[in-house]
């Protein structure tokens, strides 16, 4: 899963060191990128609407597109059931993006160089590349019965299921009661699955994936699709909407690889307002909270999947605002306060792919395991942080959009006393444009240009100094 991998790239330098040394990890990440956004010409073909009707700039939804999605991919004009379609209609869309990009990272661990940065060197590379490939298929099985299946591959055509869900809509004739079961994107108003940017660090929302340095709670990543059950509802006009999800605490990974009884919840609510000539503005909130395991049964020292117990808690909460200033300028704001249990902060939690010892009082070659008698280091605290995301857009025309993003995340409490207060802080800027040379209901096509600058305090692999990377990307993003 692309987002997961990128998150770890950013926040777990001890893990990526070997990757970076072997090759250009950022390049690898973008090579493996599977942009799981949901621009679906299959829907446009079905209803005869241009992409621009549902997308501010595809794949990002506008208000009408959000309402369409909230209605279970229905326009509610009594033409939603497949019986109204030509029998040959097959709701499939593929998306892939050939690109050229230049990637630069200031401190990569290397052999044999002993400069001022120790065994670290700056690596810059450029070249032509590919994203992953997505096959979107979704729509209605019957009126008020909808589905979405998204097999997604990396650039080597290794597939996984990014989304698989079935949904019952308008239960009892009410738009306030809809149920979704499967693996799906969380109900974020600013959806990462519909992000307009494509670079490795700019192509995700850092706020949705942030994990403090050495923290091993991977389970609170709001940007990843999750497995669970969602109940959502909305008013007739979609001005008011809510959703409540019950999720397995496994970061969307199939096969019950973690806890035996570990669940999380994601709750959102929002209200839109008619702001007259400004447009429709919306204010909302979200809360993601849950528990995840820290203790494992082992076999020959190796943790056994699904055996996790000793659940510990975590939470992410914040506000979302979508503000329109006429039909050209809009600004989305997302805030976040996050907190993990001190156990996660000390390295307990995820064991998958775990190869480096972090626990001072645990098996030096295995993951932290909260077995009977385990205690935390004296003074351990719950790591906490605050962040904000600002994403303004300038819509030149329905065919062209200029975009920017600023994200910053600041640690407010480190898990281990004495740790530098800014260790792991992130700042990132992204600028870009997307130009659709044509607008039809048959296909999507965009010239895409983007620059991202990413900075994290104290996370270079050898000297633990600031890590900075940048990426310039141009590509042709298309789907059909």
């Amino acid at each position: 899963m692309r987002m997961w991998a990128q998150s770890h790239l950013c926040q777990k330098p001890q893990r990526i060191t070997s990757v970076l040394a072997a090759a250009l990890a950022l390049t690898c990440v973008i090579l493996g990128a599977s942009q799981s956004a949901s621009a679906l010409p299959a829907f446009a073909r079905k209803y005869g609407l241009r992409c621009s009707a549902c997308h501010e700039s595809w794949p990002m939804l506008n208000y009408f597109g959000q309402k369409f999605k909230d209605n279970g991919y229905q326009l509610m004009n009594d033409r939603d059931a497949p019986i109204w379609q030509n029998p040959g209609y097959w709701p499939v869309t593929f998306r892939i993006t050939p690109i050229w990009h230049r990637v630069s990272t200031n401190k990569v661990q290397v052999d044999g160089s002993a400069g001022p940065g120790g065994n670290e060197a700056k690596i810059t590379s450029s070249g032509f590349d590919l994203s992953g490939l997505d096959f979107h298929t979704g729509g209605t099985l019957e009126k008020n019965f909808s589905f979405y299946v998204l097999p997604s591959s990396d650039a080597t055509a290794s597939f996984h299921f990014e989304t698989v869900m079935a949904r019952l809509d308008n239960i009892s004739g009410s738009p306030w009661f809809n149920v979704k079961l499967g693996k799906f994107e969380l109900d974020n108003l600013l959806s990462e699955k519909r992000i307009l940017t494509l670079t490795a660090n700019g192509g995700i929302y850092q706020l949705y994936h942030f994990i403090p340095l050495n923290d091993h709670n991977i389970f609170g990543q709001m940007g990843d699709n999750q497995l669970g059950l969602e109940v959502m509802g909305h008013s007739y006009s979609d001005r008011t909407r809510y959703s409540i999800s019950l999720l397995s605490s496994n970061d969307g990974q199939v096969g019950l690889p973690y806890g035996s009884e570990s669940y999380s919840t994601f709750i959102t609510g929002s209200q839109a307002f008619d702001a007259g000539k400004l447009g429709v503005d919306r204010l909302g909130f979200y809360v993601m909270a849950g528990v995840a395991p820290t203790s494992w049964l082992t076999n020959m020292g190796a943790p056994i999947g699904g055996s996790g117990t000793q659940n510990k808690g975590y939470s992410r909460e914040g506000f979302v605002g979508q503000f329109y200033f006429g039909h050209r300028v809009d600004l989305t704001v997302v805030t976040q306060h996050g907190e993990d249990s001190a156990w996660f902060g000390q390295g307990y939690g995820d064991f998958v792919d775990y190869t480096t010892a972090l626990c001072p009082n645990a098996n030096p070659t295995g993951p932290c395991n909260n077995v009977a008698g385990t205690t935390l280091p004296a003074g351990s605290r719950s790591p906490t942080w605050n962040g904000v995301l600002l994403e303004p857009h300038y819509v030149v025309s329905p065919q062209m959009i200029l975009l920017a993003r600023y994200e910053t995340i600041r640690m407010s409490q480190q898990s281990t006393p004495g740790t530098a207060s800014n260790l792991g802080n992130i700042t990132t800027y992204t600028f870009g444009y997307r130009y659709n040379p044509f607008m039809t209901s048959r296909a999507g096509f965009a010239y895409h240009g983007e620059y991202n600058w990413f900075h994290q305090d104290g996370t270079s692999p050898v000297t633990a100094t600031n890590l900075t990377s940048s990426e310039l990307l141009f590509g042709i993003d298309f789907d059909f």
């Binding site: 209803y47 005869g48 609407l49 241009r50 621009s52 009707a53 208000y63 009408f64 309402k67 326009l75 509610m76 004009n77 009594d78 033409r79 050229w100 004739g173 007739y236 006009s237 979609d238 008619d274 702001a275 007259g276 000539k277 447009g279 429709v280 039909h327 050209r328 819509v395 025309s397 329905p398 065919q399 530098a420 800014n422 700042t427 800027y429 600028f431 444009y433 130009y435 040379p437 044509f438 607008m439 039809t440 209901s441 048959r442 010239y447 240009g449 620059y451 600058w453 900075h455 305090d457 104290g458 100094t465 600031n466 940048s470 310039l472 141009f474």
Partner: protein, 322 residues
């Protein structure tokens, strides 16, 4: 640990802008030119320029301006209604029923008499309501200002809006109580006015003339099937009894559905509304409750209208003149 440096930030912008310009210029300009031309200019035939005339609409205290809706029209409407409002958007060929042709300024859902222009409020309501059983979505996500602007915008496509004023909204008397007698009378009118010829005897849109119907542009058109839909079944021009009443009295312009304003009286129109509601078999409304109370049987209509006074024998007209 360093904090952000402004110079680095500025450098990043410059670093982006220069290659952006270069690559855009060298790589994409050709593509831009070709595709922009393809998008914005038809390859054949004369191009009727869309001139955004200073049209306005007035919805309550909101004034809509056509110029402010150009972007929204392109984004949301042009795919079906066409850039020039002539119902020749790229999707139109696939749609049934066809999208509205704004160049004729003929509109189905009005509160005004047949043949007249609708009020701004009528168009405003149509955009927000959408059209059931068609591809016209419910655009209630727009702000009122956006909808008002779009109402003004579609006026630029027809000269009628420059020379004519909208018709006067018809007066709708208060709805009388629903009774089994009113339903019975409505059923009699349904037969007398030959509604069944198109809509079918059970209102299922399968009357003997149904397959022959075309709209004013010779596109095949189906009469409304009252029995279709669930509890929330909507009519094309609204979902309230008043909306149905307006359909009889104003007609659905551009379709074979005529206005009956000169044929039936207001109280008769209400009786017809009550009967038509009973044809919506999946709807739970007061009309069906009254019908259920009558054990589901509509009694034959008995005209209890007092007979006119007998004329003098020497003025007697054969056949009664009725």
């Amino acid at each position: 640990m360093n904090s952000l440096k402004p110079m680095r930030f500025i450098g990043a912008i410059l670093f982006t802008a220069i290659p952006c310009t270069a690559i855009l210029g060298l790589t994409f300009v050709a593509g831009f030119t070709a595709t922009v031309s393809a998008q914005d200019e038809p390859l054949v035939g004369p191009k009727p320029h869309v001139v955004v005339k200073p049209m306005e609409s007035h919805i309550g205290n909101i004034t809509g301006h056509a110029a402010d809706a150009k972007s929204d029209y392109r984004r949301y409407c042009a795919g079906c209604h066409g850039e020039y409002g002539d119902a020749n958007g790229e999707n139109a060929v696939w749609l049934d029923p066809k999208p509205r042709d704004f160049t004729t300024a003929t509109f189905k859902c009005r509160s005004t008499l047949t043949g007249t222009l609708p009020t701004d409020q009528d168009l405003f309501n149509s955009i927000g309501r959408g059209f059931a059983n068609s591809n016209m979505p419910i655009w209630n996500v727009f702000t009122k200002q956006q909808r008002a602007n779009l109402v003004a915008y579609i006026k630029i496509f027809s000269p009628r809006w420059e020379h004519e004023k909208a018709g006067e909204p018809i007066k709708i008397p208060a709805e009388p109580p629903v009774t089994i007698e009113s339903i019975s009378h409505g059923q009699a009118l349904f037969a007398k006015l030959e509604c069944w010829k198109c809509h079918g005897t059970h209102g299922e849109g399968d009357g003997p003339s149904a397959s022959t119907l075309t709209d004013s542009k010779d596109n095949p058109i189906r009469p409304y099937n009252f029995a279709s839909g669930g509890k929330d079944a909507r009519f094309k021009c609204g979902s309230t009894n008043e909306d149905i009443y307006k359909i009889f009295m104003t007609g659905v312009d551009g379709t074979p559905m005529p206005s009956f304003a000169d044929v039936i009286q207001p109280n008769e129109a209400w009786d017809l509304v009550h009967f038509l509601r009973t044809l919506q078999v999946n709807r739970h409304g007061k009309e069906n409750e009254v019908l259920m109370a009558a054990h589901g049987v509509i009694p034959p209509y008995v005209d209890r209208t007092p007979a006119p006074a007998a004329a003098p024998p020497d003025n007697k007209t054969p056949g009664g003149g009725q």
